[in-house]
Symmetry: C2
Subunit: 481 residues, 2 copies
Amino acid sequence: MHKPSATGLLPHTDAALPWPADPVPATGGEVMSDAEFFDWLAGRQRKHAQQVRPIPFAELSGWDFARDTGNLQHRSGRFYSVQGLRVRSDGPVPEWTQPIICQPEIGILGLAVREINGVTHCLMQAKSEPGNLNGVQLSPTVQATKSNYSRVHGGSAVPYLDCFLRPDPRRHRVLADTLQSEQGSWFHRKRNRNMVVEVGPEVEAGEDFCWLSLRQVNSFLRVEDLLNMDTRTVLSCMPDRLHGAGTAVASGGGSRRGLHSDTEIRSWITGRRSEREVSATLLPLREVEGRGWHRWDDRISHERGLFFSIIAVDVSSSRREVPAWSQPLLQPHGIGVLALLVKRFDGVLHALVRAHAEPGHLDVVELAPTVQCTPENYAHLPAEHQPRFLDVVRESGPERTLFDTVLSEEGGRFHHARNRYLIIEVDEDFPTTTTEDYRWMTLGQLTGLLEHSHYLNVQARTLVAAMRTLPEAGDADADHR
Amino acid sequence: MHKPSATGLLPHTDAALPWPADPVPATGGEVMSDAEFFDWLAGRQRKHAQQVRPIPFAELSGWDFARDTGNLQHRSGRFYSVQGLRVRSDGPVPEWTQPIICQPEIGILGLAVREINGVTHCLMQAKSEPGNLNGVQLSPTVQATKSNYSRVHGGSAVPYLDCFLRPDPRRHRVLADTLQSEQGSWFHRKRNRNMVVEVGPEVEAGEDFCWLSLRQVNSFLRVEDLLNMDTRTVLSCMPDRLHGAGTAVASGGGSRRGLHSDTEIRSWITGRRSEREVSATLLPLREVEGRGWHRWDDRISHERGLFFSIIAVDVSSSRREVPAWSQPLLQPHGIGVLALLVKRFDGVLHALVRAHAEPGHLDVVELAPTVQCTPENYAHLPAEHQPRFLDVVRESGPERTLFDTVLSEEGGRFHHARNRYLIIEVDEDFPTTTTEDYRWMTLGQLTGLLEHSHYLNVQARTLVAAMRTLPEAGDADADHR
C-alpha cells in the first residue's frame, strides 16, 4: 500500500545530509564548533541506536483494541489512543471518517536558553524516537507528556523539568509560553505547552545535552531530519529580539509596514473561524472500519492506499538498562509538501498564509502554509482539483527557492513522517490580491500571533522558524533587483 | 423552588432606576440628550411589549424532547438545544452532571460607531427579549445568530448586517473583531463574533435604533437592566483610544507599569490551562435525569432547588404583525454576585482576576472576576467553603464601592437572569501576593487580551467595560489619600 514518492517536484535527494551546506565557523562565541557538534551527535546516535520492527497488532504489549469500541488503547488508559473521527465539512469533501490519535494530556516542550560568551545559546537534547528515520534527532531541553513528568508509571525523572514546570523568578525568566496545536489531520485536539526559559549559569549540559548557539540551531534547520518537530515549534515561539541583526527578522519585524493592519488580520481570522462549518465527532474506531478503512493483522489502512496507516512497532535497544517496548504509530503515505510563498511589498518580506480548517484543531481553523498537501493523495485527480498554488511551487526554479529541506515530524507518534519544507519567492507580477482563504502577512505579524496560542498550525510554525533564517531583506532585495 | 434572594450583601434595591445617578448633559455633541433618550426608550417599551407566560413543556410549539436522547430540541434541528453534560474536574467537586444549552452556531454581535459632532457615537437598538425582566433593553446594532441572518426559516432581513458580514473597505473600518465565549456553566461552547465597525455618514438610525455617544453608553452601564449582555461584551472589546481622557483608560492604559509583564500574564494563563484537568462530555439529557436533576411537566430542576431550572415560555405581543411563539429558557435561581477587587500599585489601577475553569468553555479556563458566584448555592455550606473573597465584597462599605449595578444576562436564552456587578477598591494592606488562580492586571493588559479571542469570560468583560468608566486614577487617588 505504501507507494513510492512521486511528488513531481524538483529533483531532491532523500538521503540526510551529514552537514549544513554552509557550516558556521566556531568563531562567534559558540561553546562547540559545528564539527565538534556533529562528532558528538554521531556518538549519541551510536549510544541510542534502537531496533524498530513492525509487528502485528496482536504482538503489542500493553495495548489492546477495546472490546466495545474497537479503539486501540493502552491498558492503563494513559498515553494516547487511536479512535475514529467523523468529519462534516462545508469544504469540497462534505463528510468522511478516519482514524485519529487522541492524546488529551498537555505536554511540555521546553527550551532553556542562556547567554554564553555574549551569544544566545540553546540547550539541545539528542533524543531517539522510534518513528524517526534516522534514530536520534535534536529535541528541545524538555519534551515530556504529563504521564512522563508526573511519572505515573515509574520511569526516571525528566532532566531540567523544574525550569519549566516551576520556574523560579530569581533564576529563571520565561520568554515564551503558549499552547500550540499539532497536526490537525492526525491528532484530535492535541496541543503542547511551548516554552522558552532563560536560565542562569548554574544550568549545565548533562549527558545527551549540548549548548548550541541560536545561530547554529537556525543553520541546522537546513540539515535534513536533524531538528525534530518539537524543536522547530518551540523555536518558532522564540521572541524576535533573541535573533538579532542580519536575518529576515531585522527587516520583517514590527508590523507597521504590513499590507494589512494587525486588526485586519485578526478580523480575517475571526471571520474564517466564524464562517467555516466543520464539525468533528469522535467515534468508536470500529465504526470507521468498513467506511473506506480496513483493519488487517498489522495495519489499519485506507482502501485506496492513500493518507496513512496505523501500524504497530516493537522497539528494542542493545543497552541492557533500556527495556524493550511496543506501541502503535501513524505511518503517513508519501512525503508532504509544505511551502510558503513569499514576496516583498515595499521591501518588506510577506508570506502568503492560508486560513485552513483541520478537523483535529480545537478551533478548527488555524493559519497554514500556502501549500500543505501530500501530492500522492491528489495524483488521481484532474488539474482543477490539485491543491492551490502547488503548480507555482513545482514550477519555481532554484533561484527562487530560499529554503528547501526535508524534515521529520514527531517520531514518538508517527513512523517516518517526513515533509519537504519550502520557501519560494514569487515573481513581482504574482497577484497581491488574495481570495478569502489567503492573506499576505509580515514576519513581524506572524511572530506577534505566536505570542498567543492556536493561531499558526505546526507546519506554518516550522516555516516561520525557517523564514527567520533568511538573509536580511535588504540583501536579498539587491539580488533580485 | 425559586427562592427569594438572600445574598447577604449591602442593602440594594432591585427596582430599575429610571435614570443614571449623574445624567450627562446634552452639551457634549450628543445627538440626543439623556432625557430625549429615556422618552424614546419608553416609547419602544410600549411598542414592543411582550406577554411572556411559563407553560408546560407539552405546550411548546416546534420543540420536543427527542425520543432517543431526551434532548429538548427544535424540530428543524436549528436554533439551540438542551442536552446533558458530564463534568470531571480536579476541583472541589470531582464529578457532576447538569443540563446545558448547546448552540454551535456563531452569531454576530456588531456595534456600528461613527463620529458625529466630533464625538464617537454608537448605533444602539431597542430590543425586546422574552427573558428580560423589563422587556426592552439596549442591544448592539446587530445581534443575530447564523440562523437569523442566513434566514433559513424566513423572517425579515437583519438591518445593518452587511456592515459586519461584508464590510466594504471604502466605507467601513473594522476596529474590533474577535470570538468571545458566553456563560460557561450554562452554554456548551457558545461563542459569538464581537465586532465594532466604524461606518460613514450614510448609516442612519432606523426605527428602533438610536445614536448615543460613547460617553452616554458608558454612563448607562450604571442603569439597572438597561445595556443588555451583548452590548456590554461588544463594548468591552472596543479599542481604548475611542474612550479618551478623564477615565480610568487614560491612566490604566498601556501595560508598562503593570505588576506583571504581559509575557508573565500569558505564561500564567497557559500554565493554568495546562494544569487544570477538567473534561466535559455531552450526554443525552435523559441521562442527567435522576442524577440530581428531575424533569417535571413544566421544568427540569435540581433536587435541592439550586443552580437553575429549564423552563418553557409562550411569547405573544399585542401587535398583529408579530406572531406568537414558544421556546425553552434557562432560569437561574438567585442573583449572582460578580465582583472585581481593584487596587492601585504605583498609582496604576489593577484588577484581581481569576483563572477560572468552566466546563462549557472551549479551552475550559478563562479569566473571570475576582468573585463569581450565586451566594444561595453556597448558603448551606460552612464558612470555609464559601467562595473566596466573597467576604471582602460583603464587608466593603459604600466608600470603597466604585461600581454597583444589577444587570441582565442574555434574554433570548435566560429567564430573568440578573447579576449584581461590583467593583470594590480594597485597602492598601490587602495582600499583593496571590495564589495560583489569581493575578493583578492593569486595565491596559485586560484590554490587550481583548484584542484576542477567549481570554476573558463574559462576566469579566462586563466588568472591564465598567472599569473603563471609573474616574481617572489620579482623581480617585486624591480621594483616598
